[in-house]
Structures are given as structure tokens and as C-alpha cells.
Assembly symmetry: C2
Homo-oligomer: 274 residues x 2
DNA sequence: TCGGTGCGGTCCACTCAACGAGACGTCGGT
DNA sequence: ACCGACGTCTCGTTGAGTGGACCGCACCGA
């Protein structure tokens, strides 16, 4: 056997450093130097030195048991504008939704062909969901993902349609044609549904959050057991929340409206969503 | 004038990269290459190259207007174990506190002589607070900070007492003696109060969250206007929440109880907090 | 008690990745 | 047309980074 690594990672210091940080996952919160060396293919002497520098700055912490991600990364991550501005505006409304419906509320943005969850308020007695703040899911099989795609530039949609549409449940949309059709529906109605497409027995409704220039910046959803959550009933609450947030986002400073660089798939998202 | 910089930053690539990332603050969410160069003292050609590498990995994003922190940092930051485990256990209880009292709820940990806020649920109509998720405050003038210090190893307390106790309001505790005295009170009662010591007109109650081995890992507080929040009334609710969280933390996997390496200031935190 | 094993940590001569002064094209303001 | 400020790119130089080898230690089964 030729060992499990063989990254022969990037030659740049930064590339190596990021490779080391990338070793950590939810399951592997704490690793030994030797393990990091094995995973990245970086010689242990180098790992030792790099980890030392990372620790000096607070990106990782050295514990008796090994190395783990440090607080400084968390602090820095919280400064990421895409996250900060949205969370600030959205959180109160998300809390309202949680109180009103008692179901799990998600806030997510699109990144490539995946969604990244920025916030998650878990409802009591809701289903265990694979989502996690800072976690990723394929866009095509989630409510938030479809809400985001429906109002995204055609290029973005094409990228997703061109990628493999992984089947996660029997109900997952797995053909580009079906996806395109559904996105058109979402554009018309303003609502995206996930009918047990990402997790069996779980449904959700999602609505897009529009920025000042009318482009999608995020999406919010409510999820719950398919037999206990009436998506039609809570849909308007979700839309109300997203509209409030969109309006609030206008108040934030923005470096002037950016030119609509890539034709949006819809005629005018703000029209149908008024 | 000799320019405002003069960092002559670390010679290591990582040091420079971190210096660049450190340029960003809440106020400066988006910077130009030239500005980053000026602030760090790194030649612009180097900044250009490093930012390119950082962007390649997603640590920063290059927009037409400049450079800003990227999503990848947020994602990584969410994996920091100290944050993740705590948030998972604490958030539901924090939501309960918010619903029950309608006041702002904080979750924070100690880092050096400062506290870092891990979570903040803002109550309706509460005072505008300087705290922010991922933000820092001096430990000696906040409720959470004192709750954390009271049950921290003596070395930690000494470090804080030895540092300058910045006066933030007329009520701020600014002498080591007064601080030590108050910490003893907190150890006895299990409650830490902030009586307009960090922000004028704002009070708060805080309780420590204990880990499996009985050492403090975090603190939770409720804050509000001094004339509208009866700290004595909500104190027991905070304690109940922190006790629940402490118990829940035991359920998480931990690499075996670590030996109590540094004598704790209190006789036995878990006794008084039972 | 003793060799084997895997760990974190250290050393040091080599070398190539990182460096940065400088040149260039392009804006936007005057 | 001029200027200044910016992002970008080039290229000869060099020292920061490298990694094979080694050390001391803790643990474990023989």
C-alpha cells in the first residue's frame, strides 16, 4: 500500500498552512502532529514548525493531546462581511420565526455549487438535520439552495446544472432539466420547497433575501418533519421575514450599486417578490 | 513624518499573511491593496502576491472595490472546538433565557485577560451594547469576565490583576484588591454582577459554565437597562441554564479528565454551584 | 528489565520560493 | 493633457524555508 496521503501539497508556505488547517473537520477536532503530517504529506519537521507559527498567532492551540483550531480563527471568521452584515440584520427576524413556528430556521448563502449555512436556530423536537453553522450542503437538494439559485445569474445556475446533482433521497432532483423547471417555478412564486429531497421525512420552505441592487445575497428557510410542518402555512411568514431583512439591508453602507455584471435568470426578482 | 506604520512585520510568510488578515476590523471590512500595504508596512508587490494566494484559498475575496475577508475563514472558525461544543450545548438554553426574560443573553469564554463572546442573542428594546459575537472585552469589567475569573486558576487571575484594569465607567473596578475581593464574593454566591461597570446604565448577571473536570469553560449572562432589568430576579434562571449546560457538556466525548494542573482559586466550584 | 515503536522536538547545510525595486497600463480627478 | 494613485507584472537576488537525520521520551509487550 502506498499510504493514504500523496498530496505532495502546494510548495507555497501559505498553501501548506491552509492544508494543515484543512485537516480539521467536525469529527477530527484535535490531531497530533504526526497525523497532520500523514494527512497532508508534509514532512513532520515542517509541520512542527508551521504549527508552531500558527499557534503563535492563535490560529491553532497546542494542547497536551495534540493540536486544535484556535479562537483567533473564530474571531476573524466573524468579521467576514458576508456573514456579519447578514447575521446582524437577519437574526432578530429568525428568532421571530422560531418563536412563531417553533421549527428550525436556517440562514444560508451560495458559494459555488454549494450553500454555506450562516446561522441555524434549532426548533424543539425538530428532526436531527445534517446542517451546521459554517457547514456546507449541495445547493440543488436544499430549500435555501434552490431559493438562492432561482434568483442567481444564469452562469451560476449553469455551473450547478453542469455539476453532478448528487442524489441524497429518492425525491432529490437529479436532472438539469427538472432543476431548471423547478427554478422557474420558484421565480414565479417566490417560494422554494424541499420535499424530502435532502433528508427523508424532512420538508422545508425557503425564500430569498435580496440585496440593495436586487440580487440575491442569502436565503432563509423553515424545516421540520414532513408530517408536522405545513409548509404552505408558514411560507408567508418566511417571505415576510426575508422581505424585512432585504429592506433592512438597504440601510447598511454599501460601496455604491455594483453594475449588474451577469444577466440575472429572472426578469426582475424584486417585482415578483414585492 | 515617517508614515504611520513602521511594523517592519515578521519576516515569515505566515506572519505577514496574518498581519494582512489582521488589518480588517468591524469598521474596515473592505480594504484596498495599497491601504493594506500602508498599514502593515509590507511592500505592495508582496501584498499583491500574498493576497492573491489568500484569495485562491478563500481566506479573502477580491471585489472590484478591494479586498475583504472570505467565507472560508468563517467556515474554519466555526470548527474551533472551544466554540463549537459550547454553542451546540448552550444555544437552546440561551434561547430559553431570551424568551423567558426578553433580555440580551451572552455566552463568552476567557482568553488571556479578555473575554471573547461566542454567542449573543439580542433582546427587543435592550440597550445597544458594545459586545459582538467574536468580539473582545476586558474581563475585569464584565459580568461574564468576572464569573470566568472567579473560578479560574490563580495564575489567570494574577495575570488580569497584574494588567492595567481599564476604567470604562465610574463604577468599573480598577484596583486588584477590589477585584480579588469581588471574585471571592462571586465564588461564594456563584453569581457575578456587572453594575454599570462596562457600560453606563447597563447591568448584568452572569454565571459560570463548568466543564467535566469542574473547571470553568465559559460564562453566560443576561444584560439590560439598569432600571428595567432586576438582576436578582433573573439570576436563578441564569444559574439554572448554566447548570443544565454544564451537565450536558459531560455527555460530549472528552480525552479523559485532564489532571487539575493549576490550583483553582476556589475550594471547590462544583460544591457551591450544586 | 529490556528492545521496539511512535511521539514531539531539534539541528543544520542546501536550495528554491519568496522577495521587492522598478516598470507599466489604467483609471479618475483637475 | 497632465498628474497621482492604483493594481499588475517582471526578474535578478537571497535568506527563509526546508527536510533528512537525529535525540529524548513515554508507552507497551516480551
Amino acid at each position: 500500500m502506498r499510504s493514504t496521503q500523496r498530496d505532495v501539497g502546494p510548495k507555497s508556505v501559505l498553501g501548506r498552512a491552509f492544508a494543515l488547517l484543512g485537516c480539521f473537520t467536525v469529527a477530527d477536532a484535535e490531531l497530533s502532529l504526526a497525523e497532520m503530517s500523514a494527512r497532508t504529506g508534509i514532512p513532520k519537521a515542517t509541520v512542527h514548525r508551521l504549527v508552531g507559527q500558527l499557534a503563535e498567532w492563535g490560529a491553532v492551540e497546542q494542547t497536551p493531546a495534540g493540536v486544535r483550531l484556535g479562537m483567533r480563527l473564530f474571531e476573524l471568521g466573524q468579521l467576514a462581511p458576508r456573514h456579519r452584515d447578514l447575521r446582524e440584520s437577519a437574526l432578530p427576524h429568525m428568532e421571530d420565526l422560531l418563536q412563531a413556528t417553533a421549527h428550525t430556521v436556517h440562514l444560508a448563502v451560495l458559494d459555488g455549487t454549494e450553500v454555506v449555512y450562516l446561522e441555524k436556530l434549532t426548533g424543539r423536537g425538530g428532526p436531527p438535520l445534517p446542517s451546521r453553522v459554517g457547514g456546507r450542503m449541495p445547493a440543488h437538494c436544499t430549500g435555501v439552495g434552490k431559493a438562492l439559485l432561482a434568483f442567481s445569474p444564469t452562469a451560476t445556475v449553469a455551473e450547478v446544472a453542469g455539476s453532478e446533482l448528487v442524489r441524497r433521497t429518492p425525491h432529490t432532483v437529479t436532472t438539469p432539466a427538472a432543476l431548471t423547471r423547478e427554478l422557474a417555478d420558484i421565480r414565479r412564486s417566490g417560494f422554494a420547497y424541499d420535499r424530502e429531497e435532502s433528508t427523508p421525512g424532512v420538508v422545508c420552505v425557503a425564500c430569498p433575501v435580496l440585496g440593495t441592487t436586487g440580487d440575491v445575497v442569502a436565503a432563509i428557510s423553515i424545516s421540520g418533519w414532513s408530517n408536522r410542518l405545513d409548509t404552505g402555512r408558514v411560507a408567508s411568514a418566511v417571505r415576510t421575514a426575508t422581505l424585512s431583512i432585504s429592506r433592512q439591508l438597504g440601510a447598511g453602507r454599501s460601496a455604491g450599486p455594483r453594475p449588474p455584471s451577469g444577466g440575472t435568470a429572472s426578469a426582475s426578482p424584486s417585482r415578483v417578490l414585492r
